[in-house]
Amino acid sequence: MGWFARWRRRPDPDQDLADEIRFHLEAETRLRVDRGEAPTSARQHATRDFGNVLQVQETTRDMWGWSPAALVDDTRHAMRRLRAKPSSALTAAGMLALAIGLATAMFTLVDALVLRPAPFHDPSRLIRAELRWGNNGRTVVPPSVLAAWRASPLFSNVAGAATASSILDTDAGSLVRASAHVSPGLFDLLGVHPSRGRAFTAEEGRAGSDAVALLSEDLWRTTFASDPRILDRTITLDGARVQVVGLMPGGFRFPDWNTVIWQPIDFDAPPPGHARDLPEPFLRLAPGVTAAAALDAAAAMARAASSAVPSNTWVQMRAFAGSSLDAYYTHAVPILSAGVALVFLVLCANAGSLLLARLTARAAEFRMCIALGASRGRLLREAIFEHAAIATGGALGGLGLAWGLVRVARALLPEAFLSRTLHVVTLDTRAVVVALGAAFSAALTAGVIPAWIATRPAARSAAASGRGGTETRAGRAMTRTLLVVELSLACALLVLATLLVRSFMNLAAIDRGLDTDGVLTMRVAMPSTPSDPAARAAMAAAVKDRLGALPHVAEMTVSGGVPPGGGSRYYDYDWQPLEPGAKPVRISVAGGFDIGPDFFHLYRIALLDGRGFEPGDDLHAVILGERLAHLLWPTGSAVGRSFTSFKELTPYHVVGVARELRFPTVDAFADHPQFYAPFTGRGLGAISLRCAGPCPDEATVRREILAAAPGATIYGFGLLDDVYREALARPRGAAALGTTFAIIAMLAAAGGLFSVLTYAVGRRRREFGVRVALGASPADVRQLVLRDGFRVAGIGIAIGTAASAALGRVIASIEYGVSRFDPATYAVVLGLLLVTTLAASWRPARRAMTVDPSELLRDE
């Protein structure tokens, strides 16, 4: 007998019991007939002697307790009931799937972003160090300091990494990819091993033995089409032939999120082309050493090792990419998580009220079962089985939805967001565990609680007095409370979303103060050779000529920093205007740009007062931005006035005032006031190109620069527009997410309102019939239903508004230009919710109007 046949003949305890009783009755009938009774009366007497068949069945079933027969039976019943009335079950399962899917997807993002530790061996003993001095300035780490730390017993391993960009020549053309020059021992320090081939040996990295590289598996797959003979190949990197000795695992990202090529370098004896590479140090603490003690000792060692290190230096620990969140994310992530939790609750509450309505409709059936001898435990068990099946369906759907959402998020999220994480954002066991936990709590709230409520004796006997002509008071209270909760949550989320949308719109509408369209920026560091100043100047001029000759390049300027955040920053200085009686002004942060003559013209920055720089200007001429000019001299023109600052004795004098540059961000520090000084560098600094057509691509520009200045380092290459757009990506993402959640919550609340009102109208048909018979018009009946809906909505909106006003301070950190007490916001939200309530209540109200009293009374 095959397993399928066995499954088809699986025992059906219900059926068996019915058969058993039927056999008994037939046997008893036969007995009586043998004794001489007439067949029909024999049958009657047998049946009457037996007693109420249904009652016996119920009582017997109760004897099963929790045996497998009982569980099988209850599961069967639950399945049968689900199949009979699938629509509300499917809706409830759908809502649970949405809730679980959202919660899981959000957890995956937060997990990759915040919760998971760095994917290295024993990451708590790893330190990414930086040297800071004086007023929180950063300084580079000379190789001698690195060597001193390596020799110290406090650290079991020390390595350095210098990031760069490399040009990779492939058959398809030249590509630019982020790369890093690293100490050979770096991978040992991290505890990561190549998936193929080998890591670097200790000798590699000096001149002559550095023509090797490690590639990321991702690069191997996309660019080299998973060539199985990759380890035998040499590739062309920055014009040199380099052998690939190994592949790093696909998810490995170090030190930046997009580093895909690693080459060895010995920082103590670097090859000529990389003599100016300065490492970012990575340290592993020796066992038993505390971080604080090690950092103090490291600072002392650094001061002793190199004269270039100032005396007020300290070593600061910097977090790995995975946990270095800036202010925006530190606030946004908890808020988003709270939003998801709220939506989860709303959807579970909705599903719960749906299932409760479903069960309450069967109150008469429950009463009969109890009267026939079933125990409350059995009814509860059946109800829970039914809800468990729905919750299981919801959990499976939720997992599928989460998988889809994560894929969409990976594709759509801005790269700057994904770059914060060292982990690939994907669904894994942790997320699945969270999903199951969510499913369990959803099943508990939406499944067990309604089952408990619906099978209470009070719920069943309440209608014993009447004949179920209207809702029970307890049922009303329960469903209405759930609805109020849902609506207040929807209201709070809508307020949040409106604030986020308005913040984003304000940010996008900011007058940036300059024209970023078609502007290409990059920073160029001249090579160490030649050292003769005249030769260096000629080299710089050659670079400028070559760049100027590129197609579509219309304007070019060299400066010491480019907007928005380039240049030097000055923190917490007193600016003292040199007027008699003027008080010093404390400026917490200001940005200074050293600019060439074409700067304002290239960037189309308007000069509001005075003039631009002229060749005769000394080094203490400045052009102030509007904000600084206004801060220092609130009245009158700033042109021609002087001030002192920055611990300099020689005063600065203002020759012009320029339009303020604004950066669309909520972070006040990033959008700081600026001023300009003449550029005196003989090197290249930052180069800005304005293109009169499509801008030249990175490989072309790099080639031109390297042709004129071999060994130069180019970094920070990109379109300026992208930087500004990237800054808007975060508030845009937050607004989009907030709106999505709010819409989901609103739809869920609307759906809940609709189903509850429909069910209520169905229960109250008799009551409506009586009212109409007593003289009420259909419009009056409609008013009853509408009033019900609007009363619930009103209470919900009131609570939601109060909650969002109370929580306003939490979201203040990510909003811009809007006040949380702004009436326009609340007016919009109120309008939306009232319209939704009306839409949800309309059909049930209309259905109530169609009650015909005569047909109802006929049922009596």
Binding site: E20, I21, F23, H24, A27, G51, N52, V56, T60
Partner: protein, 115 residues
């Protein structure tokens, strides 16, 4: 209307006693539910007439406790019926219930007929 004779001799049985009677009946061999009812009636010479409605809950309860085992077989009339038989633990339960009942009866007899 059932015959008056039956009505007069219908004795109320406590649940525990019914269980004991069922176990004793099955001690002689497996039977189906109807047969058990008949056996008790005939074994008591029609003095005890089990309320069939309480017979089946009792049988299922005993089966649940593991004192009875059941299987579906064909009856004399070639109809599918559920046959119950005593399990070893059921046999032990019968012995213990018998001795308990004995003690109860003796105690009551001492009160009713003090010797």
């Amino acid at each position: 209307m059932p015959p008056r004779r039956r009505h007069q001799t219908r004795i109320e049985l406590v649940q525990g006693t019914l269980d004991m009677l069922i176990l004793k009946t099955l001690n002689a061999g497996p039977r189906h539910g109807h047969g058990i009812g008949l056996a008790i009636r005939s074994g008591s010479d029609d003095a005890l007439d089990i309320d069939h409605g309480s017979l089946y809950p009792a049988l299922h309860r005993l089966e649940r406790r593991g004192w009875l085992a059941a299987e579906w077989k064909l009856s004399d009339n070639h109809q599918r019926a559920k046959f119950y038989r005593l399990t070893p633990s059921g046999r032990r339960q019968l012995a213990s219930e018998r001795s308990r009942w004995r003690r109860a009866v003796d105690a009551i007899a001492r009160i009713m007929d003090p010797a």
